[in-house]
């Protein structure tokens, strides 16, 4: 019962993050909202694993935490250098 209350709290946070993702004026607001949404998914999957009594869900949560981090950094690199394979050197930094 307790975990279900926490899950409802996390679901509302995810909705708030989606609202910020839609409203966000700058690109970076959207990246921030999506990153927060991903982190909340991680802990939501862990909570579901606990509520349904299936410990395998924690592997999914761990995997999603890895993917979410890499995804955020990739989007940041894409938004900054306009392509993913740019060589990171001082002279091409605008």
């Amino acid at each position: 019962m307790l975990l279900v209350a926490a899950m409802i709290g996390i679901l509302t946070t995810m909705v708030l993050a989606l609202v910020r993702a839609l409203l966000g004026p700058t690109l970076y607001d959207r990246i921030l909202a999506v990153n927060m949404f991903g982190t909340k998914t991680v802990i939501f999957v862990a909570l579901i694993g606990f509520v349904m009594g299936r410990p395998q869900f924690l592997d999914i949560a761990l995997f999603y935490a890895l993917v979410n981090f890499v995804g955020t950094v990739a989007v940041l690199k894409l938004s900054h250098y306009r392509e993913l394979d740019a060589v990171r050197s001082e002279e091409d930094v605008r």
Partner: protein
């Protein structure tokens, strides 16, 4: 109250506090006037909320396999969530997102 249920309820309290912290982060994400204050609100409560909930779940974990997995999740998120937030703020800073000062309209 026997020991196991004491630990279980302590874990429950931690999970609830973590959910409240997460909720405050969501509200802060919407109410803050500009990007940098939102990064502060979201990044901070991200790490803290997930950390608290993971600790609460560790206290309620039925066996050691679950505890180890939760520790992995907790450790990984404690390392990467601040890093991602820092990279985000630095990328925004380098892209020329101006800092909001009092009196300016919300951005």
């Amino acid at each position: 109250m026997t020991a196991p249920s004491l630990v279980g309820s302590a874990g429950g309290v931690l999970v609830l506090v973590g959910a409240l912290v997460t909720l405050s982060g969501g509200v802060g994400l919407l109410r803050m006037p500009d990007f940098y204050s939102r990064v502060h609100a979201a990044g901070l409560t991200d790490t803290a909320g997930v950390g608290l909930i993971a600790l609460g779940l560790i206290l309620r974990a039925p066996d050691w396999g679950v505890v180890v997995r939760l520790l992995f999740i907790l450790l990984f998120l404690l390392l990467t969530s601040p890093t991602a937030t820092h990279a985000l703020a630095q990328a925004a800073r380098r892209d020329g997102v101006r800092v909001w000062t009092d009196g300016e309209p919300r951005r």
